[in-house]
């Protein structure tokens, strides 16, 4: 039983990331009708927002410390962050420590800007083209973004730690009445799960309870009629693209302490997120979220040593296997609506 709980917990944070990415993908697909293969790259850019921000606030100037020597025997140059000069060593250090949560504020305008530029600069030219063209151009864009990041940050993962207060693990086992140390769960993953829940809730509330959201939902259902009513639906859809980019970016920022960001991390999530969208049902937002968590937890179970011993390699195919089964029994996905991508 304890192993069961451990793997459910493990699935939650991965599921959160899948859900956030799939949510953005579905939003873009539902509004603009574009299959965006660059969405994983947006997740990666979000994670690098955390890296860039923590580098920015750790910017430092050099002072020469004559009492110490460097590896060549010359006097050692020591870096002193500007934050220490501005806010004093203590406050400066804690600001640097809280870089990842603070990077959220940095990433929102950046990701909205990136999303806006992507939609206006490239994707809008592909609305009337076939899906295959859209896939090719967005996939190409993803590769370009990846290579730009690699050129600046190198290929190795870059550690971006969570604040000191969130390092370490929470002993879930003791809380549930098990022996100590049986069910450990890192604090930051707990934070990530709640963060994802808040973001998902905010997106749904926005679509459900605002006039803007209502127009967007109406546009998703029948774009032409909304246009005939004199509403500039294109402009709203552009904003939705920027918002989807922002959701992917936020998912990336907060994921940075869980898996050290590298240029390739977007691709690792992209394919699985598409499976999540298809399993959830094309165009269904609740479906995307539900399928995200479901597949995250399933993947986690399949990686248990007991399961891998029984069925070697199952951990790498389980998601696709489940996707096949679901699509055979429910061809529109778990919560897919009739008529989406069917004409």
């Amino acid at each position: 039983m304890d192993q069961f709980i451990v793997q459910v917990l493990n699935g939650l944070d991965k599921g959160s990331a899948y859900a956030l990415i799939a949510l953005g993908l579905t939003l873009i697909f539902g509004t603009l009708g574009v299959v965006n293969f660059a969405h994983g790259a947006l997740f990666m850019l979000g994670a690098f927002c955390a890296v860039i921000f923590s580098r920015l606030i750790s910017l430092s100037h050099e002072i020469v410390d004559e009492t110490r020597t460097d590896f060549l025997g010359n006097p050692m140059t020591v870096d002193v962050p500007y934050m220490h000069d501005i806010f004093g060593p203590e406050l400066g250090a804690s600001i640097i420590d809280w870089a990842v949560p603070l990077a959220i504020l940095f990433s929102i305008p950046v990701m909205i800007g990136v999303g806006f530029a992507m939609e206006r600069g490239l994707i809008k030219h592909f609305y009337k083209r076939p899906h295959a063209d859209q896939i090719l151009v967005t996939f190409g864009l993803a590769i370009v973004l990846q290579e730009i990041i690699k050129a600046f940050f190198g290929a190795n993962p870059i550690q971006t730690p969570a604040p000191e207060a969130f390092t370490g693990s929470f002993d879930f086992g003791v809380w549930l009445g098990y022996d100590p140390l049986t069910i450990m769960y890192p604090y930051w993953r707990l934070v990530y799960f709640f963060f994802a829940a808040v973001v998902i809730g905010a997106v749904f509330a926005f679509l459900q309870f605002t006039t803007f959201g209502m127009v967007v939902r109406a546009g998703m259902a029948d774009r032409e009629t909304v246009g005939l009513l004199g509403i500039d639906i294109d402009k709203r859809f552009t904003l939705m693209f920027a918002m989807a980019a922002c959701v992917a970016g936020l998912a990336g920022v907060m994921y940075a302490p869980i898996v050290a960001p590298n240029y390739h991390m977007g691709m690792d999530f992209l394919v699985l997120s598409f499976v999540v969208v298809v399993v959830g049902g094309m165009g269904s937002l609740p479906g995307a979220v539900f399928a995200g968590f479901l597949l995250g937890i399933l993947e986690s179970f399949a990686s248990m040593p007991a399961v891998v011993d029984l069925l070697p390699g199952i951990n790498q195919i389980v998601i696709y296997l489940v996707a096949i089964i679901i699509l055979l029994t429910r061809p529109r996905g778990l919560m897919g609506r009739k008529g989406v991508m069917e004409e």
Partner: protein, 454 residues
């Protein structure tokens, strides 16, 4: 308007002429080559540096390339000469190789066997490289070594740690200076037992490919010989980035040691996850839980940051060796000085092994008096040398593996700067890491005979 009449006689005549024309230069070239692939004819010689310039090990590749450029400078008599002064064989004089100026071409292995073979082939066939060196993966090393054997050029392996490179996949034209999985196990096991006790239960997480397997085998057998028990070993996909579902069951498995047979990005991520899940603070079987990383690298340590503190592992070389352990490791400071002054930071062990391999090749050619692969093989086989940073070293004739001291290191608790992340715990002497050429972990391969190609 003209009209061409194609006749049978005309075709035959043209064909014969063309055949003769094609044969003539080949015949002349073969003579000039004195019977081996890419014999240098002019006043230059071309070496092929095949390193990962993209993919997960691109940072290692970049450092290897820096070292190769430095080696070429030193061979051509530019710069401060680096290890040329400390190398026990004083055959190299900074006048190129056999008086020919050294030039180089580079290829991108992408850490993929097929891409690495394609770039090596192109360097041999198009650029006329007489020797191929580099790489940062055993999968790549084994594949390129086999290609060089067929093509008749020398392969001086870069960073490759699998037993197989000089074990079951060894080749007469291939040479490895870097240490291997067996040596890591043999060097680490006594220190692990000394530090953590003989009554320990280990859990292995292993990268699911060639290098992972041999490292797990080496670590398990050498620690079991000293009393440890291996409770479980789990293969993890090479593409895995989040290891939480592999790490979470470790604490309940009855193990009190976690061995991470991972390298590069895999290792950075799995170690980070292990630390996040509180393994470093945990107690198991009444003992402090410990993590071991058999193959360390400075570049990985930089990636793992604070998480590496206190964790034991092994290295082929470290830039602090001569400063801390003295004269025995001479050459180290000379290399660190030339590298540090040119690039502004100390070299990694990947850079060191590549620099040394280039010098060893140049020296062997000089001593043999020829670029002919079989002559070079003969000069390198059984060659004993010193002054290249590892202390006295032997290139064993039976398997073309270098035998030298192995450095056991630990992640530093309070690093002073980003280059000072590991501390040297102990150096395991050569005798303790030497094995018979037909040792079970290396069996099933044969060097075969050297190939001059052409």
């Amino acid at each position: 308007m003209s009209k061409y009449n194609v006749t049978r006689r005309g075709v035959l005549r043209t064909g014969a002429g063309a055949a003769a024309g094609l044969t003539l230069p080949t015949y002349l070239r073969a003579a000039a080559h004195s019977g081996f692939t890419n014999a240098p004819t002019g006043d230059t010689v071309t070496l092929g540096f095949n390193v990962p310039q993209s993919g997960p090990y691109a940072d290692e590749g970049a450092d290897e390339l820096r070292a190769y450029q430095l080696a070429v400078e030193h061979l051509n008599g530019e710069g401060d000469g680096g290890m040329l002064q400390t190398f026990s064989s004083q055959a190299l004089e900074g006048t190129g190789i056999l008086g020919k100026k050294v030039e180089y071409v580079t290829g991108d292995t992408q850490t993929k066997s097929d891409a690495a073979r394609a770039s090596a082939r192109s360097m041999i066939e198009k650029d006329g490289a007489v020797m191929i060196t580099g790489g940062s993966s055993s999968g790549v090393a084994v594949a390129v070594q086999a290609l060089c054997q067929e093509a008749g050029v020398i392969f001086m392996a870069g960073l490759t740690h699998s037993n197989d490179t000089t074990g079951k996949d060894r080749k007469a034209n291939g040479f490895r200076h870097f240490f291997n999985s067996y040596m890591s196990g043999a060097a680490l096991a006594p220190i692990l037992v000394d530090q953590y006790g003989a009554d320990r239960k280990a859990y292995h997480l292993t990268a699911d490919y060639n290098w992972g397997y041999t490292t797990e085998e080496a670590m398990a057998s050498s620690t079991e010989a000293l009393g440890w028990e291996t409770v479980n070993s789990v293969k993890t996909p090479l593409t895995q980035t989040d290891f939480s579902s592999y790490i979470a069951p470790v604490l309940n498995s009855g193990a009190d040691i976690l061995v991470l047979n991972h390298y590069g990005g895999n290792m950075v991520n799995s170690l980070t996850n292990a630390v996040q899940f509180g393994l470093r603070e945990a107690q198991a079987n009444g003992k402090q839980f410990e993590i071991v990383v058999p193959l360390y690298s400075e570049l990985m340590a930089r990636g793992a940051g604070q998480n590496i503190a206190g964790i034991l592992g092994s290295q082929n070389w470290d830039w602090k060796l001569e400063n801390q352990l003295g004269e025995r490791y001479k050459g180290t400071n000379a290399f660190v000085k030339s590298f540090g002054e040119k690039y502004g930071f100390p070299p990694s062990q990947a850079a060191h092994t590549c620099y040394v391999q280039t010098l060893l090749y140049a020296d062997a050619v000089t001593r043999a008096g020829s670029f002919e692969p079989c002559a070079v093989v003969e000069a390198l086989e059984g060659f004993e040398f010193d002054g290249l940073g590892n202390g006295p070293t032997l290139y064993r004739a039976e398997d073309h593996q270098c035998f030298k001291d192995v450095v056991v290191v630990r992640g530093k608790e309070n690093p002073e700067n980003e280059f000072d992340l590991v501390e040297i715990v102990e150096v395991t002497p050569t005798e303790q890491v030497t094995y018979a050429p037909d040792h079970p972990q290396f069996s099933g391969g044969a060097l075969g005979s050297c190939n001059n190609g052409a």
